[in-house]
Each structure stands twice: as C-alpha cells, then as structure tokens.
C-alpha cells in the first residue's frame, strides 16, 4: 500500500534514493523487516522513530556499515551494492554522526580535504593554497560563514557541523544523512544549522534528517518517514502531518495523557538554598523546594543550570552559599558528601558522567548505594542482583538481566539504569538534569510518571530541562536562569512558554 502511495507522490520528481524491501536480523532480533524508503532529490526528509525502531540500522546499511539480509538500494536510479563504507561514500552518501568525526588539530581546509589532499608540486607535499581556495569557494556557494584557516578545536559546535557538511560536499555527496545534529547545539546554533540544511536543499542535495525533536522537523522537513519496531509505518509529505500525528505513528497510540495528572500534595520546605555561587559561573542563587514539589529550571544552554546542580552536589567548589535540608545546614564538598546527605543528581551526560558502560547493570545501579544497602565492605552478589531486579521491575527496564552490560541496552533503558540508581538511594532531594534527553516518546512518558510518583512520596525535585512543554506539563513552579543568575520564578499556570523564553533569552532593560 505504501509503495502505491509512493509512486503517486513521487511521480514526475527525481528520486535520489530508493531502498526497497530491506530486512536485517541481528542474532534472534529482527532489526528491520521489509522496509522501503524513498527520498526525493532536493528535499529534506525526516526519519523518525522511537529508540530501537531501526533508524540507525537503516542508515548504517545505507552507509555500507551493515549489509542487509535482503532488499535493494538504488542511488540516483542506479542499483548499488554497498559492501563497505567507502563504496557508500563513492556512491554519494555522506553521514554526519552525532559525535562529529573531525581531526581537531587540523584546520578547516585540511579537514575538508582529509584523505583526498590535493598534491603539491613536490612529492609528499600538498597544495594548501588550492585547498583553502576551494574550501572558501564552496563555503561561499552555500553562503556558509567559516574561516578555512581556523583550527577545528577552536570552533564552536555549530561551526564544526559546517566543516562536516563541507567535507561531505567535497566528496560529491548527493545525499547527506544527519543524525541528531542539534543535540549538542545551542538554540542560535541550531537555527543556523537549519539555514545550512535549507541551503543544501536549494543546491539539489537531499538531506536525511534524524531527530527526536519533532518541533524542529515540522519547520524543516518536506517529507517524513516513521519507523516503528523495524517497520516503516508511515512515509509521506510533512504538509499533511503535525506533531500529534507523528507521535501517533511513532508509538502507535495517542498520547492524550502525555503529562500524567499530578497528585500534588506540597508540604513544608525541604530544601533551602541561599546565595549559592560557584567558581563555575553560578552567581548568588537562592530558592526553596517544598516536600512533594517539582521545581522546574529553565534557561538556554550555557545559562548555568547544570552548574547550579554541580555546585549543589559538591562537584564544583562553592564560593559562597548555604544549603539546608529539612532545616539542617549541610556541608557538601564532594559527591560523596551529597549522597550521604540524601541528595541525588541524575546527570545530563549519561555516557561521560553517568554510566560505566562495560560493567553490568547491577553494578551501575548499586555504585553509589553499596554502603546504604549494607555492603560497606563485602558485596553479596545474590542479594545485589535481587535488589536491582526488584527496582528494574518497578520502572520496567528491558534488559537480559542484572548482569548484562549496560551498553547492550537501548538509550532509554540506559537512562532508566541511572534512574534506578537514584531510586535505590532513596534520596530526599533529587536533581534531574535533562532526564528525557535522547530518549523516545514512550520512555519520556514513563519518566514523567516516575517524577510524579517521587514527588507524591514527598521528595523535593529540581527538574532542569530545555524543553519548555515538559516544564509546563509537570513542574509546580519554574525558575528561569540567564548568565548564571536567576531571572524569574514563575507559576506555569499564570504564564506562557513565550514569556519564559523571553526571560531566558532577553537581557532585562532597565
């Protein structure tokens, strides 16, 4: 049926990519079954789906990293067998991964021509001048603003994306795949990236755009394809879709109660923070959180929200400030102190500061809790596994068991392992930093329910989030930060997302 619809929709337009009947199995797991995926020339095609839906597998097949068990790939109407990445590259496919792939110590021009340097006059030399000239010319054609002589490690994240795109263009890419390109960009950098993507489309390229942020897809994409459980469940023009419909396709159900009803029962003041400053740019922050309250914290990237959490948790040194928990002043100078004083901090960067990826799930869950569960010196693996399994059941973690390595889990389940860790800690004050970043819609909803449950148990929760709908959906109050300072403390029922964004983004005029 989809195939028929495709033919109608694409009649008369050039097809850049046609993947037909792609299936792929990993061991017993069917990652993709009979997926067909068609991308028109000169369009931005969003590819969405929950974590584990098969997006990455499909793109890795396109990039020649994996071989499909069955199916065919046509690029620019030519049948291709992509048995290794270099063949995909030669066929005009360029991948820009989430973690950029640049040589940090080389210049922009050197990166752009990496591996295909133009030879100079003498043997073993390269023609730097020509490389710089061509990079400049290419950048000009697309109206990209970048200095070809700049060293990559000195560039901002957004500029690094430009380098990746220039690299792809130099290799004559006709299809560029971008995997979560805005996940590490600030708002303004993201806006710039969208301009870049549009410029690529004007120049007859096709962009396959993978993102969890559905809002940005709505404004950017011409077509949308939705994968669910390894099957293509929808493929069509963006014009006929909106976010609720896309979400519906992704999860296969309406998310009416996306933000579950709060069972609010706010009690006495639990956490009192006064004049908190840190060497890391936090200036004189004061706030209270009551028992059972979810205090949201909004702000742009770089506003210092994570730094507040780091100072509270003893990671960064405080230069001033007092913290009280249930009326008792706390002395916190390390995470060890914070944990002993019943504070939890769910990090925003689970790979770098959260998980020990090659260790078993159970070890990761109990890591900060060994003393608390009575294993101060001697570990009892049987009891440990049981404790962890119980908590995993409570938040329905999908794993092969408590001894499975964490990196065998999907992103959402890895996040749940970290959440399980702090559930086990039974903290009184819990800081959640971007708890739903990079996890799929279904898992997000579970996180919201969990936050509610924890609040209902009387915990004080500080929820740092860059997604305003999330804060408005779940927080009882929202603090707004800008440049290391608090610039607002609002009740979500009495304000709008626009006003909060204004507070966060615009310098106050006096």
């Amino acid at each position: 049926m989809i195939a028929v619809a495709d033919r109608n929709r694409f009649s008369g337009v050039e097809i850049a990519l046609r993947m037909r009947g792609i299936s792929k199995k990993f061991g017993p797991m069917q990652a993709l079954s009979d997926v067909s995926f068609t991308v028109r020339r000169s369009t931005v095609h969003a590819l969405v789906g929950e974590n584990g839906a098969g997006k990455s597998t499909l793109m890795k097949i396109l990039a020649g990293v994996y071989q499909p068990d069955s199916g065919s790939i046509e690029i620019n109407e030519k049948l291709q067998t992509l048995s290794k990445p270099s063949e995909a590259l030669a066929a005009g496919i360029s991948m820009i991964y989430q973690e950029l792939d640049l040589a940090e110590h080389l210049t922009v021009a050197e990166n752009v021509f990496l591996g295909m340097e133009l030879p100079g006059r003498l043997p073993f030399t390269m023609d730097q001048k020509e490389m710089i000239a061509r990079t400049t010319e290419l950048a000009k054609r697309f109206d990209f603003k970048i200095d070809p002589m700049a060293v990559v490690e000195e560039l901002a994240m957004g500029d690094c994306q430009i380098v990746e795109i220039l690299k792809a263009l130099t290799r004559n890419a006709s299809i560029i795949v971008m995997d979560e390109p805005t996940s590490s960009l600030s708002e303004s950098e993201a806006a710039m990236l969208f301009e870049l993507v549009r410029a690529l489309r004007e120049q007859e390229l096709s962009v396959i755009y993978i993102s969890h942020r559905l809002e940005e897809i709505v404004g950017l994409a011409d077509d949308v394809s939705v994968l669910r459980d390894g099957r293509m469940v929808h493929s069509g023009s963006m014009a006929t879709l909106d976010i609720p419909k896309i979400v519906h396709h992704m999860v296969g159900r309406e998310l009416k109660d996306f933000f579950p009803a709060r069972n609010v029962n706010i009690g006495a003041i639990r956490v009192k923070v006064r004049n908190l400053s840190s060497g890391n740019g936090v200036e004189s922050i004061s706030f209270d959180i009551r028992k059972g309250e979810i205090l949201g914290m909004a702000g742009l990237i770089g506003a210092g929200r994570t730094q507040v959490a780091r100072a509270l948790f003893g990671i960064d040194r405080k230069t001033s400030g007092a913290i009280e928990l249930d009326g008792c002043p706390l002395e916190i100078s390390s995470p060890t102190d914070a944990i002993t004083n019943h504070i939890a901090f769910l990090t925003e960067d689970r790979k770098r500061t959260g998980l020990c990826l090659e260790l078993p799930c159970s070890w990761n869950v109990t890591l900060p809790n060994l003393v608390a569960i009575g294993m101060k010196s001697i570990i009892q693996p049987g009891r440990e596994n049981k404790i962890v399994t119980d908590i995993a059941r409570r938040i329905s973690i999908k794993w092969l068991g408590p001894q499975a390595q964490v990196d065998s889990l999907s992103g959402g389940n890895q996040q749940k392992i970290l959440i399980a860790r702090w559930l086990l800690a039974e903290s009184k004050f819990m800081i959640f930093d971007e708890p739903t970043r990079g996890i799929d819609v279904g898992a997000k909803k579970e996180v919201y329910s969990l936050l509610n449950e924890l609040a209902a148990e009387g915990k004080a929760i500080l929820l740092i989030s860059s997604e305003l709908p999330e804060l408005f959906g779940i927080a009882d109050r929202i603090l707004v930060m800008r440049r290391g300072r608090l610039v607002g403390n609002v009740n979500p029922e009495e304000t709008t997302q626009e006003e909060v964004m204004h507070l966060a983004a615009v310098e106050a005029t006096q």
């Binding site: 990993f26 990652a31 770098r352 020990c356 260790l359 890591l367 570990i379 009892q380």
Partner: protein, 320 residues
C-alpha cells in the same frame, strides 16, 4: 567469538603449551620437580601481577614495579645487616623482611599520591619513580649487593611438600581474587577504570581508592622482593630490571584491558603461568633467552589482537 571463548583462549593456549612440551620432552618436562620449579619461578611474577591487575583494571599502569622490587629488597637486607651485623640471623631477618615489605608499601603509596594529588598520568609518574627507585637501590651500597647468607627460608622452606613461596603466591592470589570480586574496593576499582568521571559522580572517593590500589600493589611487590632476595641470598640493586614488561604482558594476556574496566585475577594467573611455561619450555628445548624474547613479544601482540578482533565483532553485533 563468544565472550566465553575469549576467556577460555588463554587457558586453552596454556593447556596446549603444556601438552606440546609433555610430548616433546616427556622425561624432563613432566616431572614434579620441573613443575614445582616453574611454579616457584612464577610466584614472584605472579604476586606482582596480582597488584598490576588491579592497577590496570583501574585504567592505570605501574612501570616502577621492577625498581620497587629492587629497592624493597635492598632496604630489607640493609635493615637485617644494621640489626644483625654482617651475617644476620633470626629476629634480624624477620624484622628486615617486614622492613622490605613496608618499603614496597611506601613506594606504592608514593606513586598513588603523586598520581592523584598532582593529577599526573600514571605512566609518567611511574616512569619517573622507576628511575628514582632504581637509582636509590644503586646508591644504597654503591651499586653492590647486600649478602645475607642465612636468609633462605622464603625460597627453600617447604610446608606440606609445597614451597613457601608458592604458598604465599596461592594465598595472595586467592585473597586478591576475592577482594576484586566481593569487596567494595574491588567494585570501585572496576568502576574507576571503566569511567572515572562517572565513579566520582556516583560518590566514589576516586583519589583515596586509587592510592589504596597503588599502595596494595607496593605491598605485594615488597613481598615478592623478599622472596627474590631469599632466592639469591642477597639483595641485588639490579633485581627486576625489565620485570614490568613480563608482568604487564601476563596481565594483558590474561584478558585485562589497558583502557581499564576489564580484567580478572584468574586471567592473570593463567597469563603468568603461560609465560613461565613458555620460558621453561624454551629452556628445555635449548632455545636461547634471546629468542624467548621474540616469542613472548609475538604472543603479547597476538593475544591483544585476538581480543580487539573479538571486541570489534561484538560491537558490530550490537544494534543501535
């Protein structure tokens, strides 16, 4: 290659070497004496390799173990002579033994403190102390050994038919195995090696635990030093030159990852025995020590290459 197969590989290789040698040299190789001899020789390396395993699991390295062994032996023997005169006996030997072990503990702690408090890479710190410890060992007696002719028990002593050094080795390896698996120290060692930042964020006092790991390694090096001293009935300032290479090789062959987070004591035991039997076999087959170096080097590279291959296969097998 499954994970199990990867772990069984060193063990399989060990069995293969033993079988091959049994077939080639049934009379000389297959004797209790020869096996006890190999075990006795393995004990010193094995004891040190136990400490090195913990350090490598914590994503560190200790290049100074050979020099540390020489210095511990020299200090131990010097104390014996200071207390008991030129030909020390009895209590002087016991006190000297403890002094040597404490020296190892102190050297290891020093490494740990430098690494954590000065925030220097373990490779650099221990490269430096490797030279410093060796230098002190030479300076102590102007480059000459201390002879202590009565210090024989650790080498020649036998309990229930088993050499004392082998018994000490067995005790240390058992304790270390249990410690790594069933203690908080062991758990934190893996966590620090796997992701130091994450361990810190989870409230692990990383500095304090790293110092403990290096200190304990120093302690076992001190013990190994006294066994070595007993074997030579003298403390040599040249003891343990290039020893760190054999030790690191044994640990890596045993499956530990130099990037941290992976490794087992059993693996290290197998790695140590593998190298010892290999050296023993080469000697029995009249292969020169020079050629042995070539063989052992090749084996290290093959072992690590197989491990890497297996890991990259495993990585490809994962989805998303």
């Amino acid at each position: 290659m499954s994970r199990l197969a990867r772990q069984l590989l060193p063990f399989g290789s060990l069995i293969l070497i033993i079988c091959t040698l049994s077939a080639l040299k049934p009379d000389t190789f297959l004797s209790t004496d020869n096996f006890l001899n190999v075990l006795r020789r393995s004990s010193v390396n094995g004891i040190i390799a136990v400490g090195m395993t913990a350090i490598i699991i914590s994503a560190g390295i200790d290049l100074s173990v050979g020099s540390m062994m020489a210095l511990s032996g020299m200090v131990g023997a010097w104390v014996m002579i200071v207390i008991g005169g030129t030909n020390p006996q009895g209590a002087a030997l016991v006190i000297g033994t403890f002094a040597g072990i404490v020296t190892g503990l102190a050297c290891g702690s020093l490494n740990g403190v430098f690494i954590t408090k000065l925030k220097l890479p373990p490779f650099i710190v221990t490269l430096g102390t490797m030279s410093t410890f060796r230098g002190i060992s030479y300076v102590m007696n102007a480059g000459k050994p201390y002879n202590i002719p009565h210090y024989k028990y650790l080498n020649e002593g036998v309990v229930l038919g088993i050499p004392v050094s082998v018994l000490i080795f067995a005790v240390i390896i058992t304790l270390a195995g249990l410690l790594l698996r069933y203690s908080r120290l062991g758990r934190y060692t893996y966590a620090i090696g796997s992701n130091r930042e994450a361990a810190f964020h989870a409230g692990v006092n990383v500095d304090s635990y790293l110092i403990r790991i290096y200190a304990l390694t120093g302690l076992v090096v001190g013990i190994a030093a006294m066994i070595t001293t007993s074997r030579a009935v003298s403390a040599q300032p040249t003891a343990g030159v290039a020893l760190e290479l054999d030790i690191i090789a044994a640990v890596v062959i045993g499956g530990a990852s130099l990037s941290g987070g992976r490794g087992t004591i059993i693996g290290t035991l197998i790695g140590t025995l593998l190298i010892s039997f290999l050296r023993n076999g080469c000697t029995l087959l009249d292969i020169s020590t020079n050629v042995q170096l070539i063989v052992i080097g090749a084996i290290i590279i093959v072992a690590v290459a197989i491990d890497q291959l297996a890991r990259s296969r495993a990585a490809v097998g994962q989805t998303e």
